[in-house]
Amino acid sequence: MKFGILINEGPFTHQASDTAYHFTKAALEKGHDVPRVFFYYDGVNNANKLSEPQADDRNLVKLWGDLAAEKNVDLVVCVAAGMRRGIKDENLADGFRISGLGQLVEAGMGCDRLMMFGD
């Protein structure tokens, strides 16, 4: 089954990105496809390559990037939400790309399920 993922909040302040990550990982390990994760609203902050958590904490920016590399997940940051919040090519982490909101609608159209995580 194809799952599309929508993430509305950044890392650290809300648990949304953590839950989405564990869901995505579990879905992939069960053999499902997760062709696209879309980052909207403050979710764009998950793609900030300067993020540097404490050594004893998880690093969501890296976790998402690694998952994308290993499992071919398309990590899309909304261009409009990213512009407002200062997530652009200059500070975009590995594994993410910037594109339009149409990519969210397409994920909804093309996946069997669109899962949303937010606050």
Partner: protein, 140 residues
């Protein structure tokens, strides 16, 4: 990065855009409406639902001059136009409904006349069926 191409040719789904937050205290209202507009380019069906404090998003007369924030409510005019186009043009297979939950509206002392656009006022039990029949739910 693994750019993915969806084959969405001929796909027709029903999106529910859920608006439950008061306007301006958070930005969700503005950014959900941007998604609604984009979905029009893909000719998808949409339930644009306002419940809880989301009903205040529709209130006529937003005046944000003194808080210095962008007034997003003109977007409703565009949404209404898109909906009218779709309703009138037989070549566009796109059914948009702008729905207010009756219970949320009444709890806030509001009536249909308070809103900036024409809406369907639907009671919770019936609205639950409408939401349940949709394919994707976006918003908060």
């Amino acid at each position: 990065m693994a750019e993915y191409e969806f084959d969405t040719e001929g796909v027709k789904k029903t999106f529910t855009f859920m608006n439950r937050k008061a306007p301006y205290g958070t930005v969700y209202a503005l950014e959900v409406l941007e998604t609604v507009l984009i979905s029009a380019a893909f000719e998808q069906h949409a339930n644009i639902v306002f419940a809880d404090d989301g009903v205040y998003q529709l209130k006529a007369g937003h005046d944000t001059a003194d808080i210095g924030m962008k007034n997003f409510s003109p977007t409703f005019g565009i949404i209404e136009m898109e909906k009218e186009d779709a309703d009138e043009d037989e070549d566009i297979d796109m059914n948009w409904r702008i729905i207010v939950e009756k219970e949320s509206m009444e709890a806030r002392g509001l009536t249909e006349d308070d809103f900036k656009v024409d809406v369907e006022v639907i009671a919770a039990a019936e609205l639950a069926d409408i939401i349940d029949a949709s394919d994707c739910v976006i918003g908060g």
